[in-house]
Symmetry: C2
Subunit: 329 residues, 2 copies
């Protein structure tokens, strides 16, 4: 008798049915994108083996998954050009399973592809984008959209969600105040922060200086070669009780690399360095700096539901959402 593996999870089921896990999942969700014959065949295998995954049981009770399945497809506009954008990557990682759960088709298109082939747009009913992609003007305003982060609302018929900078600054200030720092700097890269007087920068400077802690901006460029030299200079220019605030994950990486190459990461990282954005980019620095978690998966979920509402009811009043960061651990 041949060994017969038990159907314990979706992958086992897919293997037995000779389909991908995604197809098996769609069959169990009764997706309209599969033929009835295929669904029936897969369901029969699942049934025979008594396989009813937990999540499908839950879905039958509450059925949130089917709620928007008549909508789509959604275009996710990927901004990355030369380097992967950690915001885009984190949003995508959260959106993929959600889209599956909601049963809505979506496709990732890079902004360069879109600029080269604007006719791609015709396939899509909605747009999910982040920051301020320059190709936005190619996309007709009748297409409902949602924007995550960015400088200003870029278009009509579009909701927007961004992080609450007032509360981000409050966390950073409180962290550095507790550390007893005597001076501090916020580190930002000028091709990333294209918002003049970004509130995260101006409020941090104002609040730290109001506490009597002399605080300045440490601005740098993407291709600067003297970052570490300037950092050394800054550190040696006064009290060594310094607070370091990284504007976002990429600025934080530069800061931590700089401190590391000066042999100062051990000294400063756990107590005096705080970075806005709990990104995978920063988890490998040891000892860990403090990270402000913006909860991008939740932000993606709020953005997505706003987009679905707008797709269902075009013309509803727009929402601008400020999401608070998670409190520090």
């Amino acid at each position: 008798m041949a060994y017969q593996r038990k159907t314990r999870n979706l992958h086992d089921l897919a293997e037995k049915a000779g389909v991908t896990a995604a197809t098996a999942s769609m069959a169990l969700r009764n997706s309209p994108r599969l033929s009835e014959a295929v669904k029936e065949r897969i369901r029969r295998i699942a049934e025979k083996d008594g396989f009813t995954p937990r999540s499908y049981n839950r879905k039958q009770e509450n059925a949130p998954g089917k709620r928007f399945s008549h909508l789509g497809p959604v275009l996710f506009l990927d901004n990355s050009v030369d380097e992967t954008d950690p915001i885009g990557a984190a949003l995508l990682a959260a959106l993929g399973p959600m889209m599956n759960e909601y049963g809505v088709d979506f496709q990732v298109v890079n902004q360069r592809e879109l600029a080269a082939q604007p006719e791609t747009l015709e396939k899509f009913d909605a747009l999910f984008f982040y920051n301020d992609p320059p190709v936005l003007e190619l996309i007709p305003e009748r297409i409902p959209a949602v924007q995550v982060f960015g400088w200003e609302k870029q278009r009509r018929n579009c909701d927007r969600i961004t992080a609450n900078d007032g509360q981000i600054v409050a966390l950073a200030v409180e962290f550095l105040r507790k550390a007893g720092v005597e001076r501090s700097a916020i580190f930002w890269r000028d091709d990333i922060v294209r918002i003049p007087d970004h509130p995260r920068i101006t409020r941090f400077l104002a609040e730290m200086n109001a506490l009597g802690i002399e605080t300045t901006e440490f601005r740098f460029g993407k291709y600067d070669t003297d970052f570490t030299g300037r950092l050394k200079q800054y550190i040696e220019a006064g009290s060594e009780r310094i607070g370091f605030f990284g504007f976002n994950a990429r600025c934080g990486v530069k800061l931590c690399c700089g401190l590391d190459s000066l042999g100062l990461l051990q000294k400063y990282s756990p107590t005096n360095v705080i970075v806005c954005d709990n990104s995978v980019l920063l988890r490998d620095f040891w000892p860990n700096p403090a990270l402000i978690d913006l909860d991008l998966p939740l932000m993606a979920k709020r953005a997505l539901e706003m987009l679905f509402w707008r797709m269902e009811q075009p013309g509803i009043p727009e929402a601008f959402v400020l999401q608070a960061p998670r409190p520090l651990q």
Copy 2:
């Protein structure tokens, strides 16, 4: 043969079953609040007549209604003291059917009742409130909450939604600019606007004055007896091309009543008077003033879903939502 009316809608079904339309609706939605016997009896009548209303068909596919039915009960805190608050009334009118749809229990408690019997709170899992009720401090912060309007976020574990005053002011300024007014005033009652430097007031003054239209505040008290006299004085003090901006529905009512008693409503209302809040209080003035629709039902829906998310996942980062007004018709 007796005439037998066909079951064409919910009211026909309710009549045949000898129940209210609400009960018939609950039966078709399989509400846990009815006994199985009652539901079965009503369903059998519906089935016999081949009556499956459209909305229930839709619901079986998408099932949004059941999504949060495991939550509740929710306390709706009613702020009204001496007069009915039109905001509270509009929110309640929208929330009632929504709560029914979601299958979540809720109860309206007036702030005075709550102050007299704080033990009422023990029954509730969540709080829905608007503006800044003084009794808020009685309510433990572990209870998840959502706030509509109000000055500032009043508590932890609470999301908040309010109107986007920048866009409200833009609509009012554009309306009065098009009317060609040469001076204008914003009318507000000082016991309603308890936010110092309310953005709706300060931005309106700034933007109108920047356009070269001399603009002032017209502040009044709830019990002022000289409102009409002061209004007459203001109108006679310069050019008759005046723009009138009512801060909200109640201020707008006072303004329209004042113009009416001076015999000037006909002259000014349709072209020169604009009021923030499309309230039922203002629809009876003829000719109609322009009304800025804040879409309170949508605001209530967004607030409610934020509250449900917070009930399901306590501790998720808070959202502060600014909702745009609807464009003027």
